[in-house]
Symmetry: C2
Subunit: 137 residues, 2 copies
DNA sequence: CAAACTGATACTAAAATTCTATCAGTTTAA
DNA sequence: TTAAACTGATAGAATTTTAGTATCAGTTTG
């Protein structure tokens, strides 16, 4: 029952970290990896995704790096989960490779779809900013 | 975001199937696997777990097999998820192997623990019987 | 006794996750 | 004008997890 994998987990931490570093300009992935104690090249890939999703801005070359370009209150955990975990189905509904023939009418599936929505709403309610607010309490 | 894996998924199907087969005595894993179109030996392992958890009763030897010994209304999806998915943590809170030093105070973790409870309640509300009832609608 | 079963468990295969490495290109600054 | 510090992109290796197979010993039935 693992929902956050390393990628989404690291992304959350990175965004919180960058939000707290507000106004410090472009920071290199290597530096960030050091600060967060995360594998540099892996973090670089995570940055790529966040750049494509337009949460971060990038600047190439020496003195380059990334910078947060969204308000921490606008990024939800659901956004991040969806960004990294492409298949948000709780169950795949397959029988031995082929799609389950009862897929459309499957009661289990229907129930699960309902729960997926509940989970989505929960994660949608949590923003990077709200995590930061919690920290300050 | 996969919560049901093959084992818990197959277990649900098996229990629904057995509940519908009520009163048909002991049925062999091989036969059940045929009826459900699932890998026989894998299903056998799933049966073992369900036997240990005392949802099924078993009878060795020829003409042997398994039989449901609980009321379908008493088995929740949460029970099954917990039975097969031993680590119900949505996030592991580790940084590179070692446990995250902020584990106890981590705000992300706290939020996730809260959501875990929500999810648990959702799955707790769904029993094998309720799935069967849904089917009959 | 043979056939049809379970119990237990070791093993293999496949898939997903996590991490590393590399190479081409860009910018800075000595 | 060149070395150093960076990004972009992507291949690929290592690790872990999930899924499925195979086997052998023991039990019951006919």
């Amino acid at each position: 029952m693992k929902i956050f994998h390393k990628d989404s987990d690291y992304a959350v931490r990175l965004l919180v970290h960058l939000a707290l570093r507000e106004g410090s300009g472009f920071v290199s992935a290597t530096k960030l990896a050091g600060e967060l104690d995360l594998p540099p090249n892996y973090l670089r890939r995570i940055c790529s995704a966040l750049i494509k999703a337009e949460y971060l801005e990038t600047c190439e070359g020496a003195k380059g790096g990334v910078r947060l370009i969204v308000s921490p209150g606008d990024v939800t955990l659901l956004d991040l989960l969806e960004l990294f975990h492409s298949t948000p189905e709780l169950s795949e509904c397959t029988i031995r490779k082929k799609h389950c023939p009862h897929r459309k009418t499957c009661v289990l599936r229907k129930r699960i779809l309902g729960i997926e929505k509940v989970i989505a709403r929960e994660f949608e309610a949590i923003t990077i900013q709200s995590l930061i607010d919690d920290m300050k309490k």
